[in-house]
């Protein structure tokens, strides 16, 4: 067994365990959040999901809301892949890797959110092929498991392969990864479509049982993920030697504007349909935006989300505000918050309110649910931080792996 792969492992390990004080403060902060989340989750494991505010009437809550939002964030990669590889837009091609790594960490969060939501986590092996029983193709949940894991693998393979090649100072073989990258485009569309179908397929819940949900999922996904990318790019540019072209940032901002425009249009169509025809199915939308029988928990959040999304749309659309970093960053924060409300709680909860037998149960997450979710998001953040910490020096050429021809000197 040659020693160089082991040494390379230690080179990588050394890279992620060193840094300036801001890096350690950030990682320490994430680890603290993860610990808090773990403690909260231990309590949930012990007492059951009774520690959440979910009940039979609202059987999915904050965890599944976060899950749907994170599926959207995973789309960050594809909005970079398309201009980079289909249109060969060079400024974006240089940074597409950071989008793929974000997809990897977003899917990690998705899987964790499902894991904390199930009642019997130790039985998840029942989902494994061969030793478990996958109710495929009948159950949309099995489709979701397949496409999410597939998307995870594609992005992990592409990004690790490229990093590995770079770390050895060689150029990656585009013939090998191009098919995977091309495949990742329809695959990204599929993760949103299938997650939307999971909701759409339920005739029991009129709020979700509408075809418009799938395109809306896609449109809003192309807002939140890329907006998060824009913030990450500015941080990466500041803390490392990587030069990210302003052109790339502005181009992504422009694409987000179009995505939000489509999202707002689809929202308008949905809003019109419900309130103009005003059937009994409009009750869910009414609950969401105006309150139902004096139950108004989500109303302020939904109007906030709408105002944020609308403002962000114009800030991204107008070249003047898009190309000013203060208004650009403001727009990013607004759109992430807006989509988080709209595609999170704003999507999951009204499906259950009013319930199938007309009952109104007002749901709001408990402290436990919020702390566990914080832990999951911090885990995703840590995965992304460590991946990027390793990727940056490989990118700039400061970090190189050893090969079997390298002189055997201790690291």
């Amino acid at each position: 067994m040659p020693a160089y792969p082991i040494r390379n492992f230690f080179i990588a390990l050394k890279e992620i365990t060193r840094g300036n004080k801001y890096y350690f403060m950030w990682v320490g902060f994430l680890l603290t959040c993860i610990t808090i989340g773990l403690i909260a989750y231990a309590g949930q494991l012990k007492d059951g999901l009774i520690v959440t505010n979910m009940r039979d009437q609202v059987s999915w809550g904050y965890y599944i809301s976060n899950f749907t939002f994170m599926v959207g964030v995973a789309a960050a990669a594809v909005l970079l892949v398309v201009p980079a590889y289909i249109y060969n837009f060079k400024p974006i091609k240089e940074i597409v890797l950071f989008g793929e790594l974000m997809a990897v960490s977003a899917i990690t969060m998705c899987i964790l959110f499902v894991m904390v939501d199930v009642g019997r986590v130790e039985r998840l092996w029942h989902l494994l092929p061969v030793i478990g029983i996958l109710n495929f193709p009948a159950s949309m949940l099995t489709w979701d498991i397949i496409v999410l894991n597939g998307y995870f693998m594609i992005n992990l393979c592409v990004s690790l392969y490229v990093l590995y090649k770079m770390a050895h100072g060689t150029v990656y073989n585009e013939k090998f990864i191009k098919p995977l990258i091309i495949l990742s485009i329809p695959w990204a569309v599929s993760i949103h479509t299938v997650t939307a179908f999971l909701f759409i397929g339920m005739s029991s819940r009129p709020f979700w049982n509408a075809g418009i949900l799938a395109p809306r999922f896609l449109a809003s996904a192309f807002c939140s993920g890329p907006a998060l990318m824009l913030i990450v790019f500015q941080i990466v540019r500041k803390v490392s030697k990587i030069d990210i072209d302003n052109k790339a940032i502005f181009k992504i901002g422009e694409l987000v504007a179009y995505a939000m425009g489509i999202n707002l249009f689809l929202f308008g169509a949905e809003f019109y349909k419900e309130f103009y025809s005003a059937t009994s199915h409009a009750a869910h939308m009414e609950y969401l935006y105006f309150g139902l029988h004096e139950h108004t928990t989500l109303v302020p959040y939904m109007w906030t989300a709408f105002a944020f999304n609308l403002t962000a749309f114009f800030l991204f659309l107008l070249p003047k505000t898009r190309e000013n970093f203060i208004t650009l960053n403001l727009a990013c924060v607004l759109i992430i918050t807006g989509v988080y409300i709209e595609k999170g709680m704003g999507l999951t909860i009204p499906g259950f309110v009013p319930g199938v037998l007309g009952e109104i149960y007002e749901y709001f997450p408990t402290i436990t649910e919020r702390l566990v979710s914080l832990g999951v998001i911090a885990t995703g953040g840590l995965v992304y931080t460590l991946l990027v910490k390793l990727a940056i020096p490989i990118y700039t050429g400061e970090l190189r792996f050893q090969t079997k021809d390298s002189p055997t000197k201790p690291v």
Partner: protein
């Protein structure tokens, strides 16, 4: 089920069995140094799907479960695993003009089927409607938590809702691990040892018939019903879904007995029988009364018929 699928399942279960044998052996060696870890913990962990247990495995599972329940509740349990009888398709009738909203069915069901008392789990929900107002298409006008001194109340009527035992059940389709399925006699059942607790079936059910054990179900020892069926009223676990099974432990007996809710109803509003038997009471009701089924527009095809006896 098609032949092809059958064959596929057989081969799958074979490989699964071999794999499980290996992993169980591995787990057993792991368990030994732990010392305190009971072997039954691992047996429970690796327990296969109900429909894939062979005769010996089934016997061992039942023996283990009976032991566990005895430890928990201090009572000797009997867990049946009887199959559906041939030429039987169970159907249910509910006479809305007779129901007085007393909820005896709700609590009769709780006792018979070992539902949790704390927190309370009810498989039957009785909805109260104001006479003269919209109801069956807009259940939003219903009141589930009515609490009068006496029933029936002037100006109101009642509609109990429980699992409608759909012929085309959306919950079964939703389950990612086939932990819930429709038996040949039409009863939709759950394997409480296979359910992962994802609650997709609860979102998919249009009748609010599925209930989750949000915490460990609490039942006083003296209130336990030890005559149980594996797919029915045996005590459930924390974190799994449960539902009405038409009292599978009673109706599959030979001769069968009525579900507890039918038996307990003081006004005879509840009817039950074999839909395939033209002489059954339920068939008489369907043939002679004006029946309707809840949310027909969803094409779930319930085997639960509401009617007005007059």
């Amino acid at each position: 089920m098609s032949k092809k699928q059958n064959v596929k399942e057989k081969t799958q279960s074979l490989t699964r069995r071999q794999l499980l044998k290996g992993s169980a052996a591995g787990a057993a060696t792991l368990a030994i140094p732990v010392g305190t870890a009971d072997a039954s913990v691992w047996q429970a962990f690796f327990q296969k799907h109900f429909n894939e247990l062979d005769k010996d495995e089934m016997a061992r599972v039942i023996e283990r479960l009976e032991k566990e329940y005895k430890k928990d509740y201090g009572v000797d349990f009997n867990i049946e695993t009887s199959d559906a009888k041939p030429d039987v398709l169970f159907g249910y009738g509910l006479d809305l003009s007779r129901c007085i909203g007393c909820r005896r069915c709700v609590y009769g069901c709780v006792r018979e089927n070992n539902q949790s008392r704390d927190p309370q789990n009810h498989w039957i929900q009785v909805l109260r409607f104001k006479k003269g107002e919209t109801w069956v298409h807009d259940l939003e006008g219903s009141e589930k938590y009515y609490e009068p001194e006496t029933v029936p109340e002037e100006g109101y009527f009642y509609m109990p809702v429980q699992c409608q035992q759909c012929e085309n059940p959306p919950c079964v389709r939703a389950c990612p691990v086939r932990a819930t399925w429709k038996e040949p006699d039409g009863i939709v059942v759950v394997d409480y040892n296979w359910c992962i607790g994802c609650r997709f079936c609860m979102a998919a059910c249009p009748y609010g018939a599925r209930h989750f054990n949000w915490s460990k179900p609490q039942i006083a020892k003296e209130e336990i019903n030890p005559d149980t069926h594996y797919l029915g009223n045996r005590p459930r676990f924390k974190g799994v879904v449960e539902k009405c099974t038409f009292c599978i432990q009673r109706v599959r007996r030979d001769p069968g007995t009525y579900p507890a809710c039918v038996e307990v109803c003081p006004v005879g509003a509840r009817k039950f029988g074999n839909l395939l038997d033209p002489k059954s009471e339920i068939r008489y009701c369907i043939d002679n009364k004006r029946v309707f089924r809840l949310k027909e527009d969803l094409h779930t095809s319930p085997k639960f018929y509401y009617f007005f006896a007059t």
